[in-house]
Symmetry: C2
Subunit: 195 residues, 2 copies
DNA sequence: CCTACCGATCGGTAGG
DNA sequence: CCTACCGATCGGTAGG
């Protein structure tokens, strides 16, 4: 990684470099010295901008999870449950596609947060997953979703498919986020069997 | 974690302790001293049994991925693609259920392997995923799977749902691996919409 | 943002 | 498996 002389916006540069390093080497595997080198300053100089290494992680994870929550809030509450689920899947994939590295940090590195930082992120994560659970319940109540499904496991399967996208989606790949999200939504909603 | 005096099988004890610590704190976040304390010996004593910290990780990850490969090989090659997919899903969930901590290490900590170690694990992982891709292709060819699906994305969605199980499945929870795997297989194969 | 540095801890080793 | 230790590196700080 070549150092960047982004002296105008030091904090932005720090967050960008840290996101890349945390996603590749993990929080514990990334040192303050690695980040400083990526930014193009000496290690001690970082502390003019950050308080601690953990605060840096918290900033990245919290901004990331907030993106998912905000995207979910744009969804039309009056649509049918299956349409809402489709829109939620699309919103999720678009957030992943916008910044897969940050998403990897959001879903894998939150474990290294401690105390109140960790609790706040877990609360937001639960809130996000509840949006899926609510739509699942509404779909079952409305008779749109298969009543033989276990709703908890169906939601966990959908979240699994979505969280996994951050591992393989490449913004410079052949498929747009819109196409990928439609294909995931179809696979999830209709299944793989021929109808 | 209380130290265990498993002096009869020191290597087994070391692997068990390391698996638990790597799954909770990550490879980089776990020190040789943490492992030694969990085993109940002094740090330097570990090196009577292991070569390096990375060899310890390699041992855990390779045994883990081998479990998935071996389970997949037991599947009846003469069954229909949809039956084979259902059996593969069940085999996967049973391996996860048998040892979720090891599975978390297999899917998240392999990144800390270097050089040839990393290459060998990635090769085995690709071989495992190819089993899913083969069944998907067979199902499309046989007309059992929906031809409007993107097969790559369908497989990635299934792998995502399955890989996610290690994050939430608890062997001491209310559902057996057989029940969970059937419910995941139903959700994946038939989708969530009412038929 | 740099110079210069702190005490703590890291993976690993020699010799027993 | 322990004693005793190595050089390297860690997150972070004081003073400029």
């Amino acid at each position: 990684m070549s150092p960047r002389q982004n002296l105008a916006r030091p904090m932005e540069s720090i967050l960008e470099v840290a996101t890349g390093l945390f996603s590749e080497a993990g929080y514990s595997g990334t040192t303050i010295r690695d980040i400083a080198k990526g930014v193009g300053v000496l290690p001690g100089s970082l502390y003019a901008h950050i308080e601690t290494k953990e605060d840096l992680l918290l900033g990245i994870v919290e901004v990331g999870i907030d993106h998912f929550l905000e995207a979910a809030e744009t969804i039309d509450r009056d649509a049918t449950p299956s349409d809402r689920m489709r829109m939620l899947i699309r919103a999720h994939v678009e957030v992943v596609a916008e910044n897969p590295q940050r998403t990897l940090v959001v879903f894998h590195q939150w474990r290294y947060l401690t105390g109140a930082n960790r609790a706040r992120i877990l609360e937001k994560r639960a809130r996000y997953e509840d949006i899926f659970r609510k739509i699942m319940q509404d779909g079952l109540t409305a008779g749109e979703f298969d009543s033989s499904l276990d709703p908890k496991i169906a939601v966990l399967s959908i979240l699994g498919a979505l969280n996994w996208t951050a591992e393989w989606y490449r913004p410079d790949g052949p498929k747009s986020a819109a196409v990928v999200s439609d294909q995931i939504a179809t696979a999830v909603l209709s299944g793989v069997l021929t109808r």
